[in-house]
Symmetry: C2
Subunit: 216 residues, 2 copies
DNA sequence: CGAAAAAAGGGTATATTTCCCCTTGTCCAA
DNA sequence: TTGGACAAGGGGAAATATACCCTTTTTTCG
């Protein structure tokens, strides 16, 4: 006995002002209702685990969140609830993250400066056709398949080393900090310089910051 | 003959989804109405210049915007329309920018992960008392007046040098790039190491990035 | 099991960075 | 007019970082 034919939407976003406001906007569309709102991926997943049979038509997932971010949440969904449809929302148009969200199953990726009209169109498109990609995203996908053959994978120890390299410690100090011989550190450095196509420790620091291995 | 006693609010934010949604939220409060929305500081200022007698009770100003950002807009308002009340909205809690917004006349500074209840409280507080500061902001103001005695001033050439130092160039290469003797570069470096209390070029790079002398 | 990769470490040589102390000339204010 | 601040440039030495070519041990996997 269905008394409510509206599509059920969940919002996951740490910006409470945005989250609550967006609910009003969605409500104003008429055909949708926001059944839950969560302020990070963790509480959302907790909810899903306790309500595995809840009827959910669409999830609006913010990318930048504390505790458990959009990407991690997306990965969890891919593994545990691939049936759920997700549109990722974000303020940034960083290539990497967009690609990752989509390869992890997001059905759409919208920037927050999207107009409400496009937003509605995207929601409807995902509900009907199963996906919605703007030109920005499509173009990005095409660019990537052409140039993303060589993906750089860093090992755990290399990442630890990089973090230390982004301080004023000398390699010798880093070695003793990591309980390794300076020569081993030397090896890490050489491998990384080669992998990342850089020539100096400065380059390493810039790489680390650009790829958010270290935060400033 | 005032037929509408509601407080008139203007929203300036490039995130259209947020902007339009927020309007609905504010409307739901009952006592307020959003009379205009703008997507950056420039179009907002254009509006003010053409409608100098418009009745405006409160402005909600986003900090991070393209074209003309929140801080620049705030500075313009300080010089041209100090009568207008502004609450700054932002996702980031970067000390510097908060201080600058407030010293340029913002009556409040709210993070976008504020709850709607606090948001409403802030609006009402600004309308009545003229200002609203969260603990975060108050604490920041206090910290600043205590620690901001020694402000570091960098000369133009030093800044140019720092930018070059944030690349994989050697000092020798930087010297020829800047048409100076390597020894002069050596001098800049030593002065900066001293001024910034750092010991290595890595420290210089980290400083530059943290203080946005170079962008990543 | 056995080969191949990966991890850890070594030797040596060169280049770069860091540090300390120095000279010269200019400009400006006491 | 003297003295101080400052910009530009420099010598030389020690510490660090980089490059290249090695060996040994451990892990991984067909």
């Amino acid at each position: 006995m269905k008394t409510n034919p509206k599509n059920k939407i969940i919002i996951v976003d740490d910006h409470l002002l945005f989250s609550q406001s967006l609910e009003l906007l969605i409500k104003s569309f008429g055909d949708y209702e926001v059944i839950e709102r969560f302020e990070n991926g963790k509480v959302f997943i907790d909810y899903l685990e306790e309500n595995s049979s809840a009827e959910i038509d669409l999830i609006l997932l913010d990318v930048n969140m504390p505790v458990l971010d959009g990407l991690s949440t997306m990965k969890w969904l891919k593994d545990n609830r691939p049936d759920l449809k997700v549109i990722a929302l974000s303020v940034n148009d960083d290539d990497e993250i967009i690609i990752k969200m989509i390869t992890n199953g997001a059905k759409g990726y919208l920037l927050k400066d999207t107009s409400p009209e496009i937003f509605r169109e995207a929601i409807e498109c995902v509900m009907e056709k199963g996906f919605y990609f703007t030109e920005l995203v499509s173009g990005m996908l095409i660019n990537k398949v052409n140039s993303d053959n060589k993906k750089i994978s860093l090992k755990e120890k290399e990442i630890v080393f990089i973090k230390h390299a982004c301080t004023e410690m000398t390699y010798k100090e880093i070695a003793s900090e990591m309980c390794l011989s300076p020569k081993t550190i030397d090896g890490y450095r050489e491998i990384l310089f080669d992998k990342l196509e850089i020539k100096t420790r400065i380059g390493l620091v810039l790489y680390a910051i650009k790829h958010k291995i270290v935060l400033v």
